[in-house]
Amino acid sequence: MTTKHQANNGHSHQPLKNFRVLDLSRIWAGPYCTKLMADMGAEIIKMESLSVYDSHRGPINPARGIAAYPDCEPGDEPWNRNGWFNCLHMSKYGISLELTTETGRKVFEQLVAISDVVIENFRQGSLERLGYSYETLRRIRPDLIYVSMPAFGNSGPWQKYLAYGIGQEQLSGMAHMTGYRNEGPMKSGINHGDPITGSHAAGVLLAALRYRKRTGKGMFVDVSQQESAVSLIGADVLAYQMTGKEPERRGNRSPYFAPHNSYQCAGDDRWVAISATNDEEWRQLAKQVGGPELAGGSRFSTLAGRMEHEDHLDELISGWTADKKAYDICHLLQKEGVPASPVMGGPDLLADPHYEARGTFVRVNHEQVGEMTYPGIPWKMSATPGEVRWASPTLGQHNRQIYGELLGIPAEGIDDLETQGIIGTKPTGSRII
């Protein structure tokens, strides 16, 4: 892992370096969209309110001992020390602004006028209540691309409803098809709805920017987080229409292959995931597991046989894995061409030689947190690799830079804005779900 400071090497070659995004989005779906754009060099200006800052920063007065803070210590400014916020806003500028005052609104309109994109994921209609619809913003910036990503989109009977990523897993059908056999639906450990929508939106937004470049036309991008999530289970929607059968919850098993499961290994809560997708992989696995029951010509030698006797098959494999280390099993099986991987937890990921070799995670120095490890850029691009340019901004960190250098507001003017509480670096409240 290489340490990233406030480096700026190669930025002039980044694909999105000429695009400016005024980012009003919060929590995860919107910020993940703009994170992907920042990873390709876009200028992201994350705008927050001092009274309702991005709730991923955590409460203004959190209890001690919460593990999202360095060593569980919130510190004097916990809103600047929350890991969940700090992993999603690297290479973005952070400003604060109150839209509830006339002066604040004028500044906002100046920002819109110089931005290519405005993105928000407020509850549907929230920005419009402040007087800012796509129509009004387009008067300020005629070729604006406006990305609005409420939970259910900007029309329809549920448009005012709320949902978080966890709700989108339910309403998209993902939860319905996830779970242990013969048990109820299960949520995932993350909230899949958010990153799915963030990356869908980023892809379409880039296509829209490219289109604008060719035609001069701005665009309204209407994101329903729910529709975005349902798009990933499309095959199951078709399958239901073909068969009349709802998808089955199968635990870790597959409708197509066996064996296909996670098996307990030596150690505390250690597991290995093993799958055999054809007879050859099965033969190699069987050779390693050994024992008279798996010898040639057994009832497991065909896919049909393995699927019919899968309970017993899983018992035999579990018996073999129980006293071995997950990583040892994987190296052994992969040498024979059998798909196997450790079920990795946090310590595995950060120590894993593969992720280390690829630079999957990055070390970034943050002024209030110190140097920490973060997920990096999800792709490797040969000509424009990009890099994390700086740590996630503290609240209002770039006020002087953006309002002064970009909008040309003189220092006294910025002081005035601070005195009036229209901008600042200290929150006046927090609203946390």
Binding site: P15, M40, A67, A68, C87, Y134, S155, G156, I166, G167, A175, H176, M177, T178, Y180, P185, M186, K187, S188, G189, I190, H192, I196, S199, G203, V204, L206, A207, L209, Y211, F220, V221, D222, S224, Q226, E227, S231, V237, L238, M242, K245, P255, Y256, N261, W271, G337, V338, S341, G345, G346, R358, T360, M372, P375, W379, K380, S382, A383, T384, I432
Partner: protein
């Protein structure tokens, strides 16, 4: 809409004019190129003669008794759910990439393409002389996107994997499921599809860069890397505090009354926050005990989680999922419900927004397909925006198509947000039959005569 192609057939997609050579199969690559194809790119899916994309063999199929997957050697079906969904709006060209003639045909397509997407095992195309260095010589601005399990580099580069393995290796599995049971994967292949989505983002950026500078590049997208990239909670907690994130079943991490609960006709999602909204829940559930000050804060509910659950359950078990969902939503709480496929197809919000696209495949029949994941709408409006010009110009011009017939009331731009006509730039055609467009592409694009095409077919090249 019930047509082979929606979108009135007259509106270009956002990516109109972009040609993609699609060397992908199974899931991750095809979802990436599906996004391109439905946004209007000309996606030429290159498939192995005779068998095609192996996902063609994966059911279910419309005919209920068809075994799944098909035994080896049997003719591929055209109508499996996975294939049909992941390959809408693409063209199919069969080509044997192991033959010299097949390689030549592929190479002859490269100068006319902007993008190649592939998801073979690392090194496969290089061995065929069709790797990025080979293709880039034919088209310096070419963007080539490779999606693989673990990436093009690193010690696990050649490791074999299924979705199960990648969900595990990416750290997502360890935190999904019950603490006392085995870690659980998602039912849907979200690691592979998510990597496909993310590869689409990178490819769009690289395309814009190539158009700006003439410089192409190779994108290395690893499915495992993608999975770790969305592991924000567990990853950051361990990174910041050294505390390992654990499985918590259906309860929110460090939360109570936050997750999936049974109800009368299925399952619902209860969201007990923010704290200011919690008092509403006692009213909704008609359970005065839930107003107990002990439960007023997030931490209070966590300490008394079992008690809170026991107080909520009787009301939940006595009510329907949609009623519970709406009762919460009307009170400003982000409740959900666990939607079945039947629920999704009938969901009033999705039908009101005209989300589904009915596509007739011929052989497979007509089904409702999930439509655009994101609505991108160019608004055509008077030359000068209304407020500045004072009065709207009479003529509306559109650079996106001569579209006088398109109704304004097609259900897409609602909510009074648009004043002119507006359309989504998504184009839906049914998935192609194996090799359906072979002659068209070889004839039109490459100038092969019908005699040459017959010769290639005789040799098994196409």
């Amino acid at each position: 809409m019930t047509t082979e192609s929606s979108n009135n057939g007259s509106l270009p997609g956002l990516l109109e004019g972009v040609r993609v050579i699609d060397l992908t199969h199974y899931l991750s690559g095809p979802y990436c190129t599906k996004l391109m194809a439905t946004l209007g790119a000309d996606v030429i899916k290159i498939e192995r003669p005779g068998t095609g994309d192996p996902i063609r063999k994966f059911g279910p199929f419309p005919k209920a008794l068809t075994p799944s997957p098909l035994p080896d050697g049997e003719e591929p079906h055209e109508s499996g759910a996975w294939f049909l969904y992941l390959n809408t709006s693409k063209k199919s060209l069969t080509l044997d990439l192991h033959s010299d003639a097949g390689k030549d045909i592929l190479k002859s397509l490269i100068p006319s393409a902007q993008i190649v997407v592939e998801n073979f095992a690392p090194g496969t195309l290089d061995k065929l002389g069709l790797g990025y260095p080979d293709l880039q010589k034919l088209n310096p601005a070419l963007v080539m996107t490779s999606i693989t399990n673990y990436g093009q580099t690193g010690p696990y580069r050649d490791w074999k994997a299924t979705e199960l393995n990648l969900y595990a290796a990416g750290g997502l599995m360890y935190i999904t499921g019950e603490p006392e049971s085995e870690p659980l994967k998602e039912g849907a292949p979200l690691a592979q599809l998510g990597a496909g989505q993310t590869a689409f983002v990178a490819t769009m950026g690289a395309l814009m860069h190539a158009e700006d500078t003439g410089q192409g590049q190779h994108i290395d997208m690893s499915i495992a890397d993608y999975a770790t990239n969305i592991l924000e909670n567990a990853m950051m907690q361990y990174s910041y505090s050294g505390e390992e994130y654990t499985r918590v079943g259906n309860r929110g991490y460090g939360r109570a009354a936050w997750g999936i609960y049974p109800c009368q006709d299925g399952y619902v999602g209860i969201i007990s926050g923010p704290d200011t909204r919690w008092p509403e829940i006692a009213g909704i559930m008609d359970r005065e005990e839930l107003s107990d000050p002990r439960f007023a804060s997030r931490n209070g509910r966590l300490i008394n989680a079992d008690e809170v659950d026991a107080l909520m359950l009787p009301w939940l078990l006595d009510h329907d999922k949609v009623d519970i969902f709406k009762a919460g939503q009307e009170a400003g709480l982000g409740f959900g419900f666990v939607a079945t496929m039947e629920d999704i197809l009938e969901m009033e919000q999705l039908t009101a927004r005209d989300y589904f696209v009915d596509i007739d495949h011929g052989e497979a029949g007509t089904f409702r397909y999930p439509g655009a994941p994101i609505r991108a709408t160019v608004t055509t409006y008077p030359q000068s925006p209304p407020c500045e010009g004072g009065e709207a110009a009479a003529s509306q011009s559109s650079q996106v198509g001569q579209d006088n017939s398109a109704p304004l009331t097609d259900g897409r731009p609602q909510g009074g947000r648009t004043t002119g006509s507006a359309h989504d730039h998504w184009v839906y055609y049914r998935a192609p039959h194996l090799g359906e467009h072979t002659e068209e592409i070889l004839g039109d694009a490459l100038g092969q005569s019908s005699g040459e095409i017959a010769h290639l077919r005789g040799q098994g090249v196409i």
